[in-house]
Subunit: 193 residues, 2 copies
């Protein structure tokens, strides 16, 4: 499994947003939706070995995590609006326990700490950060996770939580990229190995 | 200049589409809008050395080309909907001659043949194709152009036009990617050189 965990610092935790206003009223949910696209889509198929976890930390009741599970995924289209509708449907569910909202889409009341704690012990967690080792040194593992942040940087508490669990830190170079672009670059690199 | 030319085989050539239906009624314009995002956006800025040409071949009066010019660009946001609005505004203009619709956005009645013919002679045109040379062999030039296609493959006539002008063919590996993901991979590779 290749897991991408993306922290949405302001992303809405209720379904009370408009699909016409994903970049505004939904707390930059557009950033996270593009990450779902980058993680899953190939030219004529969907990656089955991928899981995406969107950690939503915006109002009104953070945190909640929407999980996209490759092997079960259906009704996923590449455009932002239709993926936004899947997230909105998920947020309509009650989620004290993880609940399924559509095939391959799940929601639960969990934040970054719970998501990291739920990773299997053998999962190699890679922290993507400018001060990391070169991308060329990234090695493929059967179970890997990458953590990224939306348009805002990770907070100090999030970063130290991550550094504690991380098996390594990788840099994509001197340039800083949007989270969805980072995912595309990592996917391509792993495809080449 | 780093130029990305993307052929939209069904993409609308009139402004008569809804921003709520970019993937449907606008002829998969969503694919092209994601290419604009991948070409231009860095974490906290826009690439100034990039130009994107969207070659629209859908009804009602193909072809038309919308050009996004990095050095002059304003009002560009990363979400599909707002870039869709820029394209729609461009398509409202009459464009027998190239016309400017907003800062950095231009439209003219031109197709792939005219776009290729307008490239400066020194521009190194790279054709991205599965049978090309490895990405690692890509060399940086002061003026480069890359041609990509939307969700449909290039037609035979388009492909032979391209092969005639191309200075080389590069492959991104055995996996086929969406056009916007190809652009991200190429941008990252060139950033590393």
């Amino acid at each position: 499994v290749r897991r991408f965990i993306i922290v949405g610092h302001k992303a809405s935790t209720s379904a009370d947003f408009k699909l016409d206003d994903l970049a505004g009223g939904a707390g930059r949910l557009d950033v996270l939706l593009r990450c779902v696209n980058s993680a899953f889509f190939l030219s004529h198929s969907i990656r089955k070995d991928v899981e995406v976890l969107l950690v939503l930390q915006g109002p009104p009741r953070p945190p909640r995590t929407v999980r996209f599970c490759g092997p079960e995924m259906r009704y996923l289209n590449p455009d932002e609006r239709s993926t936004g509708a899947l997230v909105r449907n998920a947020l309509l569910k009650s989620s004290a326990e993880e609940a399924r909202s559509s095939p391959g889409v799940y929601v639960r009341d969990a934040g970054l700490a719970e998501v990291l704690a739920s990773l299997p012990e053998e999962c190699v967690l890679v922290y993507l950060k400018e001060d990391g080792a070169p991308l060329a040194s990234l090695e493929k593992a059967a179970d890997m996770a990458f953590v990224l942040s939306d348009h805002l940087d990770l907070g100090d508490a999030e970063e130290s939580m991550l550094r504690r669990r991380a098996n390594g830190t990788i840099s994509l170079g001197a340039t800083s990229y949007h989270a969805d672009h980072c995912i595309t670059i990592v996917n391509h690199r792993l495809d080449m190995l």
